[in-house]
Symmetry: C2
Subunit: 146 residues, 2 copies
């Protein structure tokens, strides 16, 4: 495409993930670029129910969720023969974690779906301009075929 | 990139226009795709000042603005040797005109700046998801280098 050196696919595990992944993989291959996959496990702040015995421990175990997500990424990676892809699972809000990853890892293209939990709407939120200025690279929003 | 057949660069005439244009041109060339340029002259609804002689005719002449925009597009096109580019000037709101053009002309990739008057913020506005769902193609938001 334009000599991208590090392409990031930010994916959820919805039915649209494959479309994002395959387009990103093709661009990475054509550019001979490093290819990373990122899934963000959305962090749910714990609610304090006190010691109410009727509610008990409803806490979500994020480390368990991260482990599950890693397994899912590995499965997808094997399925699409992405031997050299760098697989990443982070915990937090997709908007923040994706921006931070892009900065830390010096990605120059992030590929996302045009909807879905990791889609551009969520990435942009209501502060589209601010986030786009913060994102230090190109963004390809892939139109998801229903 | 991914066998795009019709690439559209939506440009304003800011200093960022060249970056959008050149990236879009490269993608079109690599894909052997049709290449279109679109500039939208923003329509200002006329205000009725009645017959106040102190104000007179302040009406903006949109057809004159469109002519100027066409000349600017031609100049840019010659400057970057875009002999085969299809040059288009439309009158209206960028958000609506770009979406409509993409649909009418069956573009499969629209390239825009990450800011600027025709940037993604303006394209998305406060209804990011709605517009992205309406846009029937991929969108590449090019990070503008200051």
């Amino acid at each position: 495409m334009n000599d991208y050196k590090h392409v990031l696919a930010a994916i959820d595990f919805s039915s649209s993930a494959d479309q994002v992944l395959l387009k990103a993989r093709d661009i990475a291959q054509r550019n001979n670029a490093k290819f990373s996959l990122l899934h963000v496990v959305e962090y749910m702040p714990p609610m304090d129910y006190g010691s109410d015995p009727m509610i008990g421990n409803w806490g979500v175990d994020e480390s368990e969720m991260q482990e599950q997500a890693k397994l899912s990424l590995q499965r997808i990676s094997e399925q699409h023969k992405l031997e050299n892809a760098d697989l990443n699972v982070l915990l937090g809000t997709p908007k923040h974690e994706i921006s931070q990853f892009v900065q830390d890892q010096q990605c120059d293209l992030v590929v996302i779906g045009s909807h879905g939990r990791h889609g551009i709407g969520l990435l942009l939120g209501s502060t589209a301009n601010a986030v786009l200025h913060a994102m230090p690279c190109d963004i390809l929003a892939v139109k998801i075929e229903e």
